[in-house]
Subunit: 366 residues, 4 copies
């Protein structure tokens, strides 16, 4: 089923959680703003951009006025916008911290694109700032809000696959633009790992609900490719989870688009492929009796994520993927890069228990 | 299409390469002997077994006489059987070396089941013994003889996928019998790694044609499972190939049967799944234009492998997968276990060039 | 890939072909208006509806004003709207003729939802009216404008499958609402046949490019189901095409949603499944070498259809699916119902040649 | 999993039901004899062939002696073979009646390849002859003995798909040999219909368990193709079952190998594809919750069918697919050809009830 913008419900639009979109790139234009417009609980209240002319065009397109468009220098003007409850930060990774801290100081809640930041220390500072300001900080891990990924998690944790033994995930794609900010180490904090490999890392943790105890990694950065002067082309990493469970993952900016998640249990296995695309997700469960491929009604992944944020803004409970969830992924990514440099296993701080960095469970669409 | 025994061609049976099957287990009964009977160039000439009564039943079933059945003590009697050109060793791994050396001393060619032995040193001794005796030694890597695996290799090496970046393979299954010889370290030389994980290792090397330069591995051996008192349950290993190509692999005796091979290139990807089963192999090639799933006529994997051996017995050329090919896998498996023990990367001896441990290319069925 | 509204291009919006949407049901709201907003050449200029309040809400949602909303009684007021080049008729089938004739009298071009009308006579009257008025009449057969269906047609007509022998198509779904206008004979002109079965009929003709010479059909109308008091539940029909090619088709309002198209040729076959859904179309070509599954970039089926209409409005050439194409389907559906009543074959008027009811070939997206 | 000959169980071989294979073509050599050798309850006791030399080669291959080989003229010599309990007739269709009657006169049970004969009258005569002689007559409909087809039938009859509305089946393949007996009307009794289309007809009846009430059909026999001088190239037929259920089917000797079965119910659908091949059968069940693809252990379709025959020989109960089952298919095929000639529906004799031509339910493999 296609995801087309439903009609707005004019009588209720003004009661929705108002969001300022900070950063008007492709993701904002093609995914986030349309998702907000079809969400149940949010509305686009303001746009923040470096290109005011483009911003005004956006505004016209989406029933906003020129007054709803702000330059980055004017970011603090949002403070007076009572109809702006929160900001959705869609900027290069290295700017996440600054804009989160500024939003927190204005008392605005923060929904921040993944990766939360460029390393664990900066990410933790964002958590601290939002906590001090009493505002929500949520990491925008859309895949933790979909029926498909929850069905995979339920199969894993509900025993349907028997005791879990091994996992495997890939998220690779070709990045062609050597000038993209994603290829600049100081802006991105890394290459494919924090961008697409993070999906594998985050969802491996999500389906198990536990935290890895060690990591090993290797990376490749070709010498003669202008795209990879600053960041790696590929990373392979291995994670050791409690009970001897081991997960492998591959990520790259140099290989044909492929996204997979595989969980191998004693009595069955789960395969998601594609595992991380915006649409077309597929889940296949296999056991001795055969295969089942559950069907779900249509939904917008970003819409589900954004509505969860709105509900937490309203009720004050911790989001399912709060800042802490993003910090933990940064700790592991920091260790992955360390292992790739040293060629040895890196032990991670141990965190026992299930879902210890997560908050209120999201509601899935019926 | 099913693989059913074709009619024998009585006039030519006597001119075929005669094989003595050494070891009458499930593999011999269900796969190897039927494959020989449908092969073009070989015939079952003798059986060697510890259970003479069962051997006589086999003999009757396959047009042999009681005189064609030998006990292990009588193995050397094969020397006088001029119609026995070679032996097919289908014994527990730790016995491969002894029987290979004894066969070599009798001047009989040796086709030996994988893994070639229990470690690189013993495997190398087998190579040396056969070389000294002037007989062939071939490792029975059936997957290096199928149209499916060659089509995958051709896609990889022919450039169809663009430059190769990453690979991934799994071979896991549940081994329930704690008493099987496969679970005894001194008989098997390891757990799932030399048994099923070896398929991943061997075929990763085969499709690339190059040799890994380093390995990292982790393993899990549960404390409270009587099956895994001696051998590991699971191994994850990572291989570093030339040009920064990295491969991940998972193997286990504790997870639902799954066999995969994935190759990720800049312009496309190849997926085999199942990748290593006796029948039903599937290859999917994906690129920007879509997917292609090549079809092949029916064939018997073991029959192709065995006929290749027969042709090399006849022409004296080096088989495609000689003893040296098996030795190299043992070197790498030795390093995998070493890495799993030490938690660090293990460097492998560098071997430049393509297919350097391989011989005469096999003929594929039309 | 999702089809999300791209940013409008403000400078060009006013130059687009302006359309009045006549009928604001689910199809208009969820598919057509969003498609127009993402189309290259059209814009929504006016809305015609029985519910002005709802119409005003639509208008606000889509950057129109209350003045752009018309009641059916005011339909003729569109005459003075110079920015309305054409109307898109999305009304119950029995109203298509009246609104087409009224639009033609106003000099507005007509894009009419399928089925064109309720029988061949009424459909022909629509063609005549538009011809007399010198306006375009196009039947909205979206499946004749997609890359998937053209790839199937190209495989069929390009010889890739060898000489074509047999075809088969299904389009069934469950219609639960006994009160829907689709269940009223005088409004719909039939049951599942003119609604969903028409896809099979129309696309069977499209992929072959030729016209059937005879038809046989059977239908079922259960006596005890309140939904089927007026229209049939299921129809099965068989079509005889030139050169002995035979096609079977099934359509129903009583079976789980299934849409397929299969073409069987001497050297290969083509399978579309789903064949007629708004998104997720799949085409598999099979021959002796295996299967190929072509990939296409994302596109909006309705958008392609609507842009074709706009181009024909601009250049005055006959659309690929003009009114005549819709008339011919009505002739055949009339014969299908006749055959179902009489239990015998019904001969159709013979039309030799290829694509004789079609006009200018559509441009496919690159 | 491959179907390889298990070891014989020497002590029990002599107690098995002994079969004489009448006709040593490709089916006997590649499927039936291997299946008998792996069956639980039968053994090959004799061979009847026109080519004694080839028969002797077969005999040597399968542990028989030259004395076990008979010419057709010597067929009646089987009477004295007490170890021959029954005959498996694998001859051109028009010879089925004569050899069945001769076998019956010798008191031998008859398992006869499908189609049972060349028309309903001859088929009925075979039933009468076997009844008079007090021997079993079973039609060799292997697809009525497989776990896959029973799972489809169980889904249909068990309500899992909701009330059934429509069915569709195809069995087409390319027959290239103009000289094959299948292309001779007097030997085959028809073209693709009684050969491969019969699978569709028979299995449509099997999954519903009811009998069609009317039939409509069309056929094509090209004028300029030497293969189709006597028999049709393609047949399309439509069957009307009780309760308004309609089934479509396509069969041909002129199209790329395709075998399908589709059942459309109100709440779900079942798809078998391939539906009729010797191996590789696939069943997909779809409903609102998604898809399930049941897995079954490996089995030999012919072995299951032959063992069922052996059990009925032993216990005297009516086989699941007795001669009467074959007669009914001939009645319907006679009507299909009549309809194709006349261009009108043909009413069939009404038979109420479930499985009225069938006997003892087969045991499925665990």
């Amino acid at each position: 089923m296609p995801l087309k913008p439903d009609l707005p419900e004019p009588e209720s639009v003004q009661k929705r959680v108002g969001l300022a979109i900070v950063g008007l790139g492709k993701l904002s234009a093609e995914e986030l703003i349309p998702a907000i417009r079809t969400s149940k609980h949010t509305r686009v209240a303001a746009l923040v951009t470096s290109d005011l002319e483009e911003g005004h065009a956006f505004a016209r397109a989406f029933d906003l006025t020129d007054e709803d468009v702000y330059s980055y220098d004017d970011f603090e003007s949002l403070k007076n916008r009572e109809d702006v409850d929160g900001v959705y930060i869609v900027l290069p990774n290295s700017l996440h911290r600054d804009y989160t801290e500024r939003a927190a100081r204005m008392g605005k809640h923060v929904l921040c694109e993944k990766p939360l930041s460029v390393n664990a220390a900066d990410a933790q500072a964002m958590v601290d700032a939002c906590r001090a300001a009493g505002v929500q900080l949520m990491t925008a891990y859309r895949c933790q809000y979909t029926p498909h990924h929850w069905a995979a998690r339920d199969a894993v944790q509900g025993g349907k696959l028997g005791p879990i033994k091994l996992l495997d995930s890939m998220h690779v794609q070709v990045e062609e633009d050597a000038e993209a900010w994603r290829m600049k180490l100081d802006l991105a904090g890394g290459g494919p790992l924090p961008d697409v490999g993070l999906y594998s890392l985050n969802i491996l943790r999500f389906v198990l609900g536990t935290e890895p105890e060690w990591v090993f990694a290797a990376q490749h950065q070709p010498k003669n490719d202008s795209r990879f002067r600053e960041v790696e082309e590929s990373v392979s990493f291995m994670l050791g989870f409690p009970d001897g469970i081991i997960a492998n993952a591959l990520t790259s900016y140099g290989a044909h688009k492929t996204t997979t998640l595989r969980v191998l249990g004693e009595e069955g296995s789960a395969l998601m492929e594609p595992a991380f695309t915006y649409t077309g997700l597929s889940l296949i469960l296999t056991d001795k009796d055969g295969q089942t491929i559950p069907a779900f009604g249509s939904y917008d992944q970003f819409g589900l994520e954004i509505d969860h944020f709105a509900e937490r803004v309203r009720d004050g409970k911790t989001p399912w993927t709060p800042g802490e969830e993003g910090v933990q992924d940064h700790r592991i990514m920091d260790a992955i890069y360390q292992s790739a440099r040293t060629g040895g296993r890196v032990q991670l701080e141990k965190y026992a228990g299930q879902d210890i960095f997560r908050g209120e469970k999201p509601q899935l669409p019926e």
